[in-house]
Symmetry: C2
Subunit: 314 residues, 2 copies
């Protein structure tokens, strides 16, 4: 059994894999070696280097592990056609992303940017008009691993959580749940609206300018999912008209954000450069998920975690 | 029964008190009216306007409610000598303070000040080297209402909490507890050291330069209690020598912090202008505590909440 990595884990992480799975042959290299792929049984990749053409010659390939959560660049149809199993590292982002989301919310609520400005000016100004997270309401679009982790922590702060997903099916750490179709009914109640939605047929342009007209003028909108959940021109219009108080944007239609983009200078926009999922623990956690699945695989079990439904794309 | 306020609650808050307690006569005025105090049974004050001399003529006074948590300016010995009951609004600060403390911790961990600087420069720089709160250890000096609330929320983030108080008596939301005397034993384990200690004989200068020598170079020190828990020159020395990574200071030996003070410009110091307890809900909550106690008082119960031990001062 040959396991091909198209990135380099740290030396000690490589050693641990080799020691724990003596029955496998590991090849660590970068970029993706097309020759080695021809005879590999398993590919472990970050998900940005595999094209449909690679698969034509990968006759042995039975399982692809993507060591991230996003799958937009993967040739899903070709993977499906060849009956290859695809798994990802879903859940890997939940801790750093929930911490990042809470960091931005609390920073805004406690006026930390103004406090920092005052410090730069040597100005003792205790009147910062902070607001409280306690007792507020958050609407969380996307109720998977990340959304539920955000909900769990918000609940610890005394926040009422409304989850929103495709079906309206109950999810953990949500006080109530609504479906995409019911969005406009609950938007007026939300002090914070957080999107963690992936990019799929159903989420693309799910939000429009009209949704921002339904929000409280004091609302904070956070996009930590994918940029195409709203057309950028509509988001820009809502923010220019100050329909809401703040937008914290970690994702954009086009990344990196263009140097001249108006978002950079808008007083009600926080530009987070797609950084919210970054973590020093990233590869450690991805390899934990992979190792658990590899153990199952070697036992010829089909109980792998995080198998992707190739039709739905998540 | 005459109840004297030395500050003005909002009109609707005054009305609610008058309606809910028809058996009492309420006088709302500011500053403290010495004539009215002579015939008052109960005084409600923010705690900064009452001097020992006032009490000499306050023959009817049986109960003083301080609508804050700090009691440093109260004439405790004279209050004790006249058998007056003193209560405060302990617990009123726990929500805004816990939220402020978490805001600063997460802002530092997720490099939000650097992200904001990059945004001002129009710079897309995803490499912000964030660290994780999850799995870290916090040492909380002071395990009362605020300390326990901070501990509770930190635990929700997956943080190991070590409480520290005078006696080493167990407190809620702490994984372990140590006494003041054991401080140096646990300091090397702490990623975050948070003081919420009041100013008392036992806490004054409790921390010294040597304590900072015991801390991790990556540690964050937060003083949200009182400035005199450490001599400022020793704190300044530890920070100038970069013994730790960050100090977030909400309190100082002398407030406001002098315009020329070095803290303002130090890259490893966040100056919070004694603002962490501020809340739009402050008076609402103080009056809730007062109303519950007043109900008890009118029922001639001695079960008042938040009675101060006048010898200990808290």
């Amino acid at each position: 059994m040959k396991i091909l990595f198209s990135f380099y884990p740290k030396r000690d992480q490589q050693t641990r894999l080799i020691e724990n799975f003596p029955q496998a042959e590991f090849i660590f290299q970068k970029p993706l070696d097309e020759e080695a792929l021809k005879t590999a049984d398993i590919l472990v990749t970050y998900g940005e280097d595999l094209h449909a053409s690679h698969l034509e010659k990968a006759d042995q390939l039975k399982w692809i592990m993507v060591a991230s959560a996003g799958l937009e660049k993967m040739p899903l149809d070709e993977i499906a056609a060849r009956n290859i199993i695809l798994t990802n590292a879903r859940g890997i982002h939940k801790i750093p992303m929930a911490e990042s989301i809470l960091a931005h919310i609390l920073s805004i609520k406690k006026s930390l940017p103004l406090m920092a400005k005052n410090q730069r000016n040597g100005e003792w100004s205790p009147k910062l008009n902070p607001t409280e997270l306690f007792g507020s309401t958050a609407l969380i679009l996307g109720t998977g691993a990340i959304g539920s982790e955000v909900g769990r922590i918000l609940q610890a702060f005394g926040v009422h959580t409304i989850g929103c997903n495709r079906s309206g099916k109950m999810a953990s750490s949500m006080d109530t749940i609504v479906s995409f179709g019911q969005l406009k009914e609950v938007l007026p109640d939300a002090d914070i609206v957080i999107s963690i939605l992936p990019s799929t047929e159903e989420t693309k342009h799910l939000l429009t300018y009209e949704h921002f007209q339904c929000m409280k003028p004091s609302a904070i909108f956070m996009n930590f999912g994918r940029g195409d959940v709203i057309k950028e021109e509509e988001l820009l219009r809502a923010l220019t008209e100050e329909r809401i108080a703040y937008a914290v944007l970690d994702v954009f239609e086009k990344e990196p954000l263009h140097k001249e983009h108006p978002f950079w200078k808008m007083h009600n926009v926080i530009v987070s450069p797609h950084a919210s999922s970054h973590s020093s623990q990233y590869v450690v956690r991805a390899l934990e998920i992979f190792s658990e699945n590899l153990t199952e695989w070697l036992n010829e079990s089909n109980q792998l975690e995080n198998i992707i439904d190739l039709k739905r794309g998540y």
